[in-house]
Symmetry: C2
Subunit: 385 residues, 2 copies
C-alpha cells in the first residue's frame, strides 16, 4: 500500500487476520501505518524511483490516498506491477473534471459543472452563474481532500476575482459547479474484484462540518429502500464502467429531485469505518480481498444501527488520559486511534457505537468522540464566557 | 509482550485500534507476531538479560505464554518493571501442582491429585489407583501445553513403570490426577484489572481432539444458567484470589456431579478467539485494557451463537490457494491465519462463524477449517482406499 496514513493502518488489522503480508510505503517512520507494520519502507510515494523500488517486493500495489501521480502508476503498470485500482480507473478519483465528464457520459446524475479556462475565467463564471445562480462552488480539479481545494463564492466581486486570479496564476486547474440544495449527504461504498464480483454496503448518511466528515450513520435513517438500492446500483455501475478494483466510495447529495454524485474515492473511505464493527466484513478486509482477487466478504450489518464519529484533535494532546472516562462511561463503545499527533481539527481517530436505538447510538458515539476532543471543547467554552 | 506467537499477533490487531504501541520480544523475525509489528525485538524470552533489555522500553510487560521463568519475572518486578500478570499469580499457570494446592485451599472443586515423588513413585501411583481407579492421568507439573506433558495410563504395567522412570530420570516433575468422567469440557474466560474490575465472557464449550482444542462453541449449548453463572463466579473468584491481572482462562470439566477445574491460563486463550467477532470486546483488547489498567470492555455477545474452529496444518502448505473456495462458499465466515508455516497438526489459524442456528454455525465453521486443512484430509482419504 502506497501511503502510510490511517487507512493503511486499519488495513493492517485486516491483513493480520487474512495472513497477508502488508507492506507500506510511508513518508516517515512516524506515519500512522508505519508504526504498526513490520519494516515499513520509508520513501516518497510521489517519486517514481521510490515507487518502483517499493513495488519490487509486492504481488500487488494499492493506495492509501489519491495523490500518487497517475503517470507513475502507468509506469508501474507498464513495468509489470499489478496496480489495483489501475491508473485508468484512479484518474476519475484524482481529477474531478475527468470524473464529471465520464459520469455525465454515463448518464449518472451530477451537479452542473464547467471547466474554468485560464483565459477569460470570469466570463465563464458569469455565464455559469447566470444559468445556475449563486453560490458557485469552485473546485481544484486535482489534489483536494477533506474540503481543501473547494471555495464557495456568493458573488463575483473583486475578492472573488482576486482569488480566482491567484489560484490560476499558481497553476491550480479549476472547475465550477452549481451549489446543490441537498437535504443531506450520503455515501455508497462498494467493492469490486478483478474477477468482476461486486459487493455493496448499506448506504450511509455522512454529516459534515467545515468540509470534514464528523459522523456517519448506517444505514442512512429513513432512506427509502428504493433510493438505497438506486445508490448501490449506481455505485456498482460506476465501479464496473470505470473498471475499479478495490473499494469505491461514492459520495452523494440527496436532493428533492433525487441523488447526485458529489465525489468518488477508490480506497477505504471515512464513510466506511463503521464497517469494522458494524458489518460482517470490514471495508479494509474487503479492499484487501478485492485487490487480491479473493471472493468478497459479506456486507451484512451486525446491528440495526451503527454510528461512527470522527475524533478530531483538540488543544490537549494527552488523548490517552481521557480513555478512562470514555471506556468507563460506555464499555461497549469502540475506540480507534490512528497514532497521530493531535492537532486542532486533525482527524486522529474515530469511535463506533452500535445498537437498536438510533438516538441512543448517536449520543454514545458523539459523547465518546467529544470527550476525546475535550481540550478544545473546554477551551471553547471558556472563551465563550 | 514477551513471546511472538499468535496470541501476540492477534493482540497487535487490538493494540492498533487502541493506539497503543505493542512491542514484542520474539525468538525470530519469522515468529507469528514478529511479522506484524514494528521493530520486533528478537531475543530469548527465557533469558533474563534479554527480558531486562526488552523491558526497558515498555510501560508494562505481559506474556504470550507461560514459559518465561517465574524467577526472571520476579527479577523484572524487583527492578521496577510492572509485569501483568505478576510472578506470584503466574506461578499458578506455570505449575499445575502449585495451582491444585492453591485451588484446593480455596475449596475450588478440582480432580483428586497427588505429587509423584522421585522416591517410590510407583507406590504412590498404586495407592492413588486404589483410591481413584484407572486410568491415571500423569502430568508434568511444568512446561506442558496443548496436551503435551500429559500421559494417560490404563494400568501400572512394565511399560508404564518404564515411562515414569524415564520421565523422572530426565528431571520431569510429575503429579497424578484421577481421570474425570466428564460429559464435556467448558472454559470460563474472565479479565481483571489492577484496579480490581472484573469482566466475564459467556462460558463456552471446548471440543478437544488428541489433547488439542479443535472447536469452541459460545455459549456452551444447553448449559443451565446457574451452572454458567457458577463457572463465571468461580473464575472471577480465582482471578481475585490469585491477584491475576489480564485475562484468566479457566478450563473446566462438566461432570454429573458439577464443575471441576482442569487448567488455568493467564493470557488470551484459544477458548476466547471467538470473541474477535462474537463479543463486543475481543479478548485481546480486553487483555490490553486490563494490563494497562483501563476500564474493561463489554463482554456482550454479538450473536446468539459463535463457533470457532481451529485450522490445523495439513500436508499441503499452500493454504492460501484454498481461501478462494472457503470465501466463495461462505462470504460471512471469518478467516484468521497466524503467518505460521503449516505442519501437520500444528495450529496455523482459526475460523469463526456466527448466527442464530447452532447446527448451521457449527457446520459452517467446520467446513471452512476442514477445507483449509484439505491436504491432509484428502491424503487420509486416499490412504484409506
Amino acid at each position: 500500500m502506497a501511503g502510510g496514513g490511517q487507512l493503511a493502518r486499519m488495513t493492517q488489522q485486516a491483513a493480520i487476520g487474512l495472513g497477508v503480508s502488508l507492506r507500506v510505503l510511508a513518508g516517515s517512520a512516524d506515519d500512522s501505518a508505519a508504526k504498526v507494520v513490520s519494516r515499513a519502507r520509508i520513501g516518497d510515494d510521489r517519486s517514481l524511483d521510490d515507487l518502483l523500488s517499493f513495488a519490487r517486493g509486492c504481488d500487488v500495489v494499492t493506495f492509501d490516498h489519491e495523490h500518487v501521480p497517475g503517470s507513475h502508476i502507468q509506469k508501474l503498470e507498464s513495468s509489470g506491477v499489478p496496480c489495483r485500482p489501475g491508473s485508468a480507473a484512479l484518474a476519475h478519483a484524482q481529477d474531478k473534471l475527468v470524473m464529471r465528464e465520464r459520469l455525465t457520459a454515463m448518464d449518472v446524475p451530477c451537479p452542473a459543472y464547467v471547466h474554468v479556462p485560464k483565459s477569460a475565467p470570469l466570463r465563464t463564471l458569469e455565464d455559469f452563474a447566470r444559468d445556475h445562480g449563486f453560490p458557485l462552488v469552485i473546485k481544484a480539479t486535482r489534489g483536494g481532500y477533506d474540503g481543501k481545494g473547494v471555495w464557495v463564492l456568493d458573488a463575483l466581486d473583486g475578492a472573488a476575482a482576486g482569488l480566482i486570479d491567484e489560484l490560476l496564476s499558481q497553476g491550480v486547474d479549476l472547475m465550477v459547479e452549481e451549489h446543490v440544495p441537498f437535504t443531506r449527504e450520503l455515501a455508497a461504498v462498494v467493492a469490486r474484484s478483478p474477477y468482476g464480483q461486486g459487493a455493496a454496503y448499506p448506504v450511509v448518511e455522512t454529516v459534515q462540518e467545515g468540509g470534514i466528515c464528523v459522523e456517519v450513520i448506517s444505514p442512512a435513517p429513513g432512506l427509502p429502500a428504493g433510493a438505497a438500492a438506486e445508490a448501490q446500483r449506481l455505485a456498482l455501475a460506476v465501479a464496473a464502467e470505470l473498471d475499479v478494483v478495490g473499494l469505491l466510495a461514492v459520495e452523494l447529495f440527496e436532493t428533492r429531485a433525487g441523488l447526485l454524485v458529489n465525489e468518488l474515492a477508490m480506497r477505504p473511505h471515512n464513510s466506511g469505518h463503521w464497517t469494522i464493527e458494524g458489518a460482517r466484513t470490514s471495508q479494509f478486509e474487503q479492499h484487501l480481498r478485492a485487490v487480491l482477487d479473493l471472493p468478497l466478504g459479506s456486507t451484512e450489518p451486525t446491528a440495526p444501527y451503527t454510528v461512527m464519529a470522527n475524533v478530531l484533535g483538540g488543544d490537549d494532546p494527552d488523548v490517552y488520559s481521557r480513555y478512562i472516562h470514555v471506556m468507563a462511561h460506555d464499555p461497549a463503545v469502540k475506540v480507534h486511534m490512528y497514532g497521530k499527533e493531535p492537532r486542532p481539527g486533525r482527524k486522529i481517530g474515530h469511535v463506533t457505537a452500535l445498537g437498536d436505538d438510533l438516538a441512543d447510538v448517536r449520543e454514545r458515539a458523539r459523547h465518546a468522540a467529544g470527550y476525546l476532543r475535550w481540550g478544545t471543547r473546554m477551551k471553547e467554552r471558556e472563551e465563550r464566557r
